[in-house]
Symmetry: C2
DNA sequence: CGGACGTCAACGGCATGCAGAACGCGGCGC
DNA sequence: GCGCCGCGTTCTGCATGCCGTTGACGTCCG
């Protein structure tokens, strides 16, 4: 039995399992989460489960009830839009910091490489969406590294805890949509412009681009909502409430 | 024994007590936090203490060790500056949202009232700093309410978990500083300009003002660092490291 | 027939005991 | 004298039992 929160720890197991149960809708939103049944279901004891519950509550996926216990949060479309806008603001700050704090062009090596690979993916007649999402995530992670700020990194980490707020979540669900390629082209254009702005040390422009880049996810959200099959692929879709 | 996380709960007691111990430097930064001794010291069992440790780790005050256990985080001046800048970005977003989402002037009643009271405090020849800090906090809380966004509210809540990043922390410690009144005048001017911008629906301007308002805290930080007695009043001062 | 009270069952919070792992120390070998 | 290995202590993570509270149901009284 390892001591730390390493993978394989019961707490980690409970956290990951619980998060997955929430995302796939196995736990109904706005309903009390039963502590005992869940422990059996996840194969862990109640102690690590309670730690996992506290973690997801911090992330905003659960809400603590005044009388004790937790409920799964549900999100209106406005909530999702807010979360995306917030991510844009934070990534905008990361982009600005990256531009302002760049010490040598060598630091951009990762970002440049990923951008090049993304170009190649988008250039395909039928781009592999899965590959794009993977590289997209790497791009965004590299940007956060360049920001050189633990505070910003933590804030972004919290912001993307909501599944539909993360950079690639809305992309991954629209494999069947027709406007898919156009969205990819625009996104990649923004990636390249953002890279240029950071390289040139144009912090304010980098911030604006990153914000607008996140707003692409809002557009994707609308597209996904119009398509039932795409909606089913969206992680965390059961947490959305169409009607308020 | 109450069921929820109400005040009086052992977990709450542990969390508050632990946070206070960290802020006052009773636990040395970068040193392992002993779990057993702490439980005795706080008068709680290890189970609620571990929940409190997890909470403070989420807030960024503690860091989980790979081998298990936690250490108190230490912060460089750059870290503090980043945290303040981040708070500015988030409050800027809150201000923009407030301006964009204002439905009726009546919603501003709280903010207007607090601003008026702040005027009165600053108008005094020797303003009561304590009173100013209290009203200042109320002003910032009212702004967050006007933003009408849970996501932004949570992000700001996380950002101000670091004590020296919160709006009034740096003010409260400088009761003896000579430039105190000037800072108050500037801060209150910004409060009023921000209120005007929100009232007029000028989102972008409101955002800019809120950002710059937060940067006043950076100036205060420099002032506090030059004064030993002020530094001693600063909550969480033991977590700062002058040398890297 | 409706409301209020009493009882009951279930649930969540807390304390504690136990087992496994990491760190430190002493001894041994080179 | 230095480095390595083995052992022990100590600490953390986990499981579980107990207790208090809470909400619900049934019953009784008005």
């Amino acid at each position: 039995m390892p001591r730390g929160d390493v993978a394989g720890s019961q707490t980690t197991k409970a956290t990951l399992g619980l998060r997955e149960l929430v995302f796939e809708g196995a736990l109904a939103p706005d309903e009390r989460v039963p502590e005992v049944g869940l422990a059996d279901r996840l194969g862990v004891s109640r102690t690590p489960l309670r730690l996992a519950l506290a973690t997801l509550a911090h992330e905003g996926l659960l809400r603590a009830l005044p009388g004790g216990g937790f409920v799964v949060c549900s999100f209106s479309l406005d909530d999702v839009a807010d979360a995306i806008e917030l991510r844009g603001v934070l990534e905008g700050t990361a982009a600005r910091f990256a531009a302002e704090r760049l010490e040598s062009p060598a630091e951009l090596a990762d970002l440049v490489a990923v951008t090049g690979q993304l170009d190649a993916v988008v250039a395909e007649p039928t781009p592999l969406l899965e590959r794009f999402v993977e590289l997209n995530d790497r791009y965004h992670r590299a940007l956060v590294v360049l920001a050189k700020s633990d505070a910003v990194a933590r804030a972004i980490g919290n912001a993307v805890a909501l599944p539909f707020a993360s950079p690639g979540a809305l992309l991954a669900s629209q494999a069947t949509l027709t406007r898919e390629r156009e969205v990819l082209v625009v996104a990649q254009h923004q990636h390249r412009m953002l890279l240029e702005a950071v390289e040139a040390g144009h912090g304010s422009r980098a911030e604006d681009i990153a914000r607008e880049h996140a707003r692409l996810a809002k557009l994707n959200l609308e597209l996904v909502l119009e398509s039932e099959p795409a909606l089913e692929r969206l992680p965390g879709a059961p947490l959305l409430r169409r009607v308020v």
